[in-house]
Homo-oligomer: 222 residues x 2
């Protein structure tokens, strides 16, 4: 995750990584949080790479040695949440069917992430970012592309979990795509409707969208 929660303590455990690695990690974190701050205050399009770099006191060229492009630094905030979700999914019991496993994994991941960090951990940052993404076409495009990569990964996980050959059975990929669609729909609903703020609100919106999955596909809508 980003930065050090308590700048006072410099734990000795960090020594396992050389000074060089620690420094790299610090500038990377600094770039991410500076970018996040600038994007939220001035808007994504009105923020310049030069500004971000200047904020961290680093040359613009260095920025591109950490991130391939402007979108990447913005989306980096979500990386941990996504990783946590995948980790959660791996540990779901085999008794759950695939759809149940996916659904409980996101809900659990959001809940855990919002519980662990007491105050302004990455969760709030992630929620702010989702908001920003939905109102920034360029970011949305980049995010959607990342999502498809994630779906491929999820499909493979599900396939392995069920002992299937993903190149033969279409179900894992279809399920992953459906899952992605429902989730995206939930994100959009959450970000355009401020009646359910915070992680709990997001969880509630996600649950309600999953609840509508069956009815939406059913023949009879009455």
């Amino acid at each position: 995750m980003a930065a050090q929660p308590l700048p006072s303590a410099e734990p000795a455990a960090c020594r396992v990584l050389g000074l060089r690695e620690r420094k790299k990690q610090r500038t990377r974190d600094a770039l991410v949080s500076a970018a996040h701050r600038l994007f939220l205050s001035h808007g994504y399009g009105r923020t310049t790479i030069d500004e971000i770099a200047a904020e961290v006191d680093v040359s613009p060229r260095t920025f591109f040695r950490y991130f391939a492009n402007k979108e990447e630094v913005a989306l980096a905030v979500l990386a941990d949440a996504e990783d946590y979700f995948v980790a959660t999914l791996r540990e779901r019991p085999a008794s759950e069917n695939p759809l149940q496993a996916l659904r409980s994994s996101i809900v659990l991941a959001w809940r855990d992430l919002s519980d662990t960090g007491t105050s302004d951990t990455g969760v709030t940052a992630a929620l702010e970012l989702i908001q920003l993404i939905e109102e920034t076409p360029t970011l949305l495009a980049a995010h959607l592309r990342r999502i498809t990569d994630q779906e491929r990964l999820i499909a493979e996980l599900i396939a392995r979990r069920e002992g299937l050959d993903p190149s033969v059975d279409l179900r894992p990929r279809v399920l992953a795509a459906v899952f992605g669609g429902v989730l995206r729909s939930a994100h959009l609903a959450w970000s355009s409707d401020h009646s359910a703020p915070g992680p709990e609100g997001m969880i509630a919106v996600i649950e309600s969208h999953f609840d509508q999955l069956g009815p939406a596909l059913a023949g009879d809508w009455r």
Copy 2:
């Protein structure tokens, strides 16, 4: 659709539009087809706006008066296919349930489009473009964002069709998202597996993915 199929005939019906409008339409079509050709032969990333403009004998500045950006001219080839799909969806009988209507609409749209034009109509161009999109990250991102706009439209159509308020009932949006997911999954499968070429191949892949929708969401995968 693009260009005139038979350059010999200059139908009098065109006179209803002024010379100015006709000219604009012609340069627009010329830009789209030049871009399409260059993208397919040299690759999207290695094709320059200047090259496209030069091909049509137009200044680069003019290009940006027709298209907001490089992605837009590439994706323009799909616009007609999408419009045709939406038109088809509007005419589906009320007896079909929403999911059925969506499914039969794409299949019918593809079939009609591949039947109407005898030889190299827009259908082949659309298929070539889908292929290009899947192997070009930048294009894929832009395409996915367009898809989400389409999904919003589809959700509204379905809601009206079923006499629902789309701001209350989540089913239309969830269904549209699921539909988009299945379709995207099918496109990916089609473009990465050359065993089913042409429109018929695409239709077959789409059908098989829809067939897996129920099983994928079912509790029991055995």
